[in-house]
């Protein structure tokens, strides 16, 4: 069975220089999609990613991460759109750093691609009718 989860990884300063993600791919056959990264040598690193693979390998990968000293949290926040409040104005489009919003050319409606969202929350307060909601 395949699983796909969004997780937040906290790297202690001593392992930010190790190729942790590479090992996940090489040793456990997992695929990843980095949603957000803040890694500087010598400092605590943060990586938000979607990790996918077979359940068995996924569990092994998580075990490997834990043993290496990486602290793992599931991505507990999620940004969703309240369709009843969205007026499709487009104020969010240029605010989003990952271009999760786009215009449907024909109808000029604003599309929200949840997969591109990194849950930064910038759109939540920039949305004039407050249609973007941060879920915990």
């Amino acid at each position: 069975m395949n699983v796909s989860r969004r997780i937040v990884l906290h790297f202690p300063p001593n392992i930010t220089e190790q190729p942790v993600v590479y090992r996940l791919v090489k040793d456990f056959g997992l695929t990843f999609n980095i949603l957000k990264a803040s890694v500087s040598p010598g400092e605590e690193g943060l990586l938000v990613m979607e990790l996918s693979g077979e359940q068995k390998n996924y569990d092994k990968g998580i075990k490997y991460l834990t043993e290496t000293g990486v602290e793992i949290q599931s991505l507990s926040q999620d940004v969703v759109r309240d369709e009843s409040r969205c007026t499709h104005c487009g104020a969010c489009i240029t605010i989003c750093p990952t271009e999760a919003f786009s215009l449907e050319p024909k109808t000029r409606k604003v599309l929200f691609d949840h997969n591109k969202c990194v849950v930064c929350g910038l759109c939540v307060k920039a949305c004039p009718p407050r249609a973007m909601i941060l879920h915990f």
Partner: protein, 402 residues
């Protein structure tokens, strides 16, 4: 071929009027030719849906027993202060009013999650609203304190009265500075990072009637999902603004004051709105029907996004300092492509006005007219035009002295 409004109304009554939206008319008139299109089309419907701060509502809440004179007292609706300096139980709620305890921009940028516009939306939605008031008490109005729930269906009048709506063209806002700024035109990223605009362009009421030849005082319109009327020209109405060869203003120019019974409006067309770091307002839906009385009037309604130019204004310096400088002009066709070129930089664009909602308004109004439910009203007075010489004046500050 000149038609009259009375003749068009006769056709509407019979269910025979030919009605098209301001978007549809562009291709129809090109295909059929102006003269045939003007002959066949009776009404062109327009629409716009954007934040309009010049909005507000009057309420007459009815007299309590014993009576209280709110006039001269302090009155709040859901903690948002309303203006009570009128008759005993009349109040005015402005779209930008904020609760006294809102932190404003103390924690910059302020969030402004709830204000006058939101109270109007909830009122229209039929929700109970908390009214709290204190007054000084008189012989005929002895009561000094009032706390009650009110509901739009119970109070005597609820009148939407927007002093300035439906701007004929508007600025495109950008930011030349090196830090993010929070404006009524949205969040503007530094170093020309984005460009925000706010009109429906080719669908916008006054851009389809640039010289106010059909829209005047008394024109019946779609307002907030119900029926309203043009009450007057809006404040800051500026008919003498720079115009293109097609007559279309290239700067913010004409405006409308509009009025209507709030009780028959709908919350989806009057949306409480929060502008980060700026304040609260109300997003208003307006649509005006344009009777095709002549070929000339039809020709104006054929205006397309490519024919409408807007000025690009720097909101970090030129706008706040009231400097007339602009960074250039850009058409709505370019703005709607999603990217524009400004000072050699490729910039993404965003809108504060919803085109899909504007389209929906024009379509709803079209349906009302086709079904014979909405007759056109003959204006009782024109809006001041170019010949009025009216301009938009800055404040002339003078020292008060001692």
């Amino acid at each position: 071929m000149a038609k009259t409004i009375a003749e068009i109304n006769e056709k509407i009554r019979k269910g025979k009027a030919v009605v098209v939206t301001a978007e549809e008319v562009i291709s129809i008139a090109k295909e059929k030719g102006v003269s045939r299109a003007a002959e066949e089309i009776d009404v062109v419907t327009t629409g716009t849906f954007g934040p309009m701060c010049g909005s507000g509502a009057f309420f007459n809440i009815g007299h309590s027993r014993p009576r209280i004179k709110l006039g001269g007292g302090k009155v709040y609706l859901n903690d948002v202060p309303v203006y009570a300096g009128i008759a005993a139980v009349d109040v005015f709620l402005g779209a930008t009013a904020l609760p006294d305890d809102d932190p404003r921009n103390k924690f910059y940028p302020g969030e402004f999650n709830y204000g006058g516009g939101h109270v109007i939306e909830e009122m229209v939605a039929g929700k109970d609203i908390r009214l709290t008031a204190t007054a000084f008490g008189t012989d005929c109005y002895p009561r000094k304190k009032l706390e009650t729930l009110i509901n739009i269906k119970d109070i005597n009048e609820a009148i939407l009265f927007n002093l300035r709506n439906a701007y004929q063209n508007y600025n495109v806002a950008m930011n030349l500075s090196d830090k993010v700024i929070y404006t009524y035109m949205g969040v503007l990223k530094p170093n020309l990072g984005n460009a925000n605009y706010s009109t429906a362009g080719q669908l916008s009421p006054l851009l389809n009637d640039p010289y106010y030849k059909t829209i005047g005082v008394g024109t019946k319109i779609f307002l907030g999902g119900g029926i309203g009327y043009v009450a007057w020209h809006g404040t800051q109405h500026n008919p003498t603004a720079l115009r293109g060869d097609n007559g279309v203003p290239r700067r913010g120019s004409g405006t409308l004051a509009v009025i209507g019974d709030l009780k028959q409006m709908k919350p989806e067309w009057l949306v409480g709105t929060s502008m980060l770091g700026y304040g609260c307002t109300l997003t208003v839906g307006i649509g005006a029907p344009i009777p095709i009385l002549s070929e000339e009037i039809l020709r104006y309604t054929m205006v397309s996004d490519a024919d409408i130019l807007a000025p690009i204004v720097d909101y970090s310096e030129a706008y706040p300092q009231l400097k007339p400088d602009i960074l250039g002009e850009v058409s709505y066709a370019e703005l709607k492509s999603g990217r524009i070129k400004v000072q050699g930089k490729d910039v993404p664009t965003g809108s504060l006005s919803s085109y899909p909602k504007a389209m929906e308004i024009a379509s709803i109004l079209k349906k009302w007219i086709e079904k014979g439910e909405f007759l056109l009203a003959e204006p009782v007075a024109p809006l001041p035009g170019v010949e009025s010489g009216i301009t938009f004046k800055p404040l002339k500050e003078r020292p008060i002295g001692d």
